[in-house]
Amino acid sequence: MSAPPPTGLISLGDYVSVIGRAEVDEMRALARRLEGRTIKMVNSTAMGGGVAEILNRLVPLMNDAGVSTRWDVITGGDDFFEITKGFHNALHGAPYEAHEQAFEIFRAYQQQNLANLRFEEDFVVIHDPQPIGLIEARQKPGKAPAGPRNAHWIWRCHIDVSRPHPQVWSFLEKYMKRYDAMIISSPAFTRPLPIAQYLFYPSIDPHSQKNQDLDEDFIAKTLERFGIDSNRRILLQVSRFDRLKDPLGVIQAYKLVRKYTDCQLVLAGGGAKDDPEGGQVLAEVREAAGDDPDIHLLALPPWSALEINALQRAATIIIQKSLQEGFGLTVTEGLWKKKPVVASAVGGIPLQIQHKLTGMLAHSVEGTAFQVRYLLSNPQVAQRLGENGHEHVKENFLVTRNLKRYLMLFLSLSGAAQ
């Protein structure tokens, strides 16, 4: 099915105030070289999760730049998304009990979606493992190619696949090898494959509800609404209630900090349709928080972007204590808001946080607590890290940079880069 159109029209011109006229002109010049070419993006959810957020902004901007781009979303039942969630965790290295039945269900949904989607574009970008089998549309045995004969197929992998479960990797690798190129979020995620691998950092949109500037009144009212004291320091982790985000470890770190310093902890999490595990993890976190009135657990619906934005802007320190991470867009969001961020050195986080330059990296509960205490005691250091972090995001992790990378990749694959 087609993804819903994003709320509000956005254009490249809206970003002149953020990245400058020169950068915008450069992107338009790159896009002109792709005149007449068409793009399709495919993922598994239109709302919730980082990929949908990226596409929700990237697709309109590509169209505004003059490159005709369509976004399709695959469909699947609960059984399919439970299997793909298992695949997701297994690709991150989590234990997984592989059954042939799961692979069969996965294949059946690929066929169902293949029957519903058409591929007539010059470039097809498939996001993450859920729709990876759509590569079969490229050329079905005994049939003519479904799309343009010279279409370029690209698999965009948003997760860390450096230590995958071997059986799941082996199953998905058969699809991967059939793509022309793969995009990954960190050089550390690379695996030996016979296709070219490109490095694209994920991105955020400075004009989205989650990142736009907010007035102080809205921020204050948001804190009041959630019962958070605006006069006391706030530690915040924003993430799905997912074991890989280690919310229990965050509570432990907060308790260590509280031995020395007064502060509150806010754990704010959204949910996504393809994440059926969230409710169970939230229950475990509630139990760990106990009756501490300074721990605020906020299970927010997917339309809470403004509230998350307000919480991030109100935070004294942002934490991202993930055990595994794809990239960690919540880190990017925190850095963009000039906040000091303390985060685990996993996945794509070290690409965003250069220790002591753009934030603080930690490797344990105790390390997280120590870095938080250090920054609470040294606000001038915290401020410098926040300012550097903002510049780092501006240079590398904005949606406009992502757009530019896609334009360059399409030019490169079609031999028109120079």
Binding site: A29, Y198, L199, E395, Q418
Partner: protein, 217 residues
């Protein structure tokens, strides 16, 4: 206002990063790979580092130095690699030779340390540079200043930092100012601006500061 013999066309340059699929886990492995990795990879980890971190004046001069320091805890070697001034090179191969020489000296002097496993691997990547013409084609110093004010810092990097790899024995700005505008003193002053102790935005401002008295003269 003095008119240039030839106009100067400012370019915009962007880079796409391709992962080579080659890693080094020790300094000895870094040496082995540095000898044979593509020139585009050496370019990416030296010239391109400065562009990617143009807003910092600490911590980054090239990726090799950074990794040797942060992942291998080898400050002497990091210092040697940091001292490689990319503006002194007219080809990536010359720069590669000096990177390799610094690594060879370390491996030879400290063979055991060179085989110690780093905290994290070094991942070789290549830079694919894509250039486009900007709207700025200038014929005088005044027009040059206006253009320089408007282009992105990546244009500044392309013309001021990586220019020597494309032919001139100086940066593109100094080459044009010296040859087409025949303002050799200004050209030299601009060429002496330090790219390692200033952000690229600051470098841009310093070039403009040097030019202003000549525009007004």
């Amino acid at each position: 206002m003095r008119q240039a013999k030839e106009p100067f066309q400012l370019m915009a340059a962007s880079t796409l990063i391709r992962i080579c699929g080659v890693q080094a886990h020790t300094i000895a492995e870094l040496l082995k790979q540095a000898r044979k990795i593509s020139a585009n990879s050496i370019f990416n980890h030296t010239f391109q580092t400065l562009s990617q971190h143009h807003y910092l004046t600490e911590g980054f001069s090239n990726d090799f130095a950074q990794w040797v320091m942060a992942a291998c805890n080898a400050p002497q070697l990091a210092e040697m690699l940091t001292a490689l001034d990319i503006r002194q090179y007219e080809s990536v191969e010359q720069l590669r030779a000096d990177v390799v020489r610094a690594l060879e000296e370390f491996v030879s002097a400290f063979p055991q340390r060179a085989r110690q496993k780093a905290f994290e691997p070094f991942y070789f990547c290549e830079a694919i540079t894509v250039t486009v013409l900007t709207d700025w084609r200038v014929h005088s110093l005044r027009e040059f200043c206006e253009a320089l004010w408007h282009v992105s810092v990546h244009s500044v990097h392309y013309h001021f930092v990586s220019a020597r790899l494309r032919g001139p024995k100086t940066n593109d700005f100094s080459a044009w100012i010296g040859q087409s505008l025949e303002l050799k003193e200004l050209a030299e002053k601009i060429d002496h601006i330090d790219i390692y102790t200033n952000t690229l935005e600051r470098v841009r401002q310093m070039i403009l500061d040097e030019c202003v008295p000549w525009v007004e003269a």
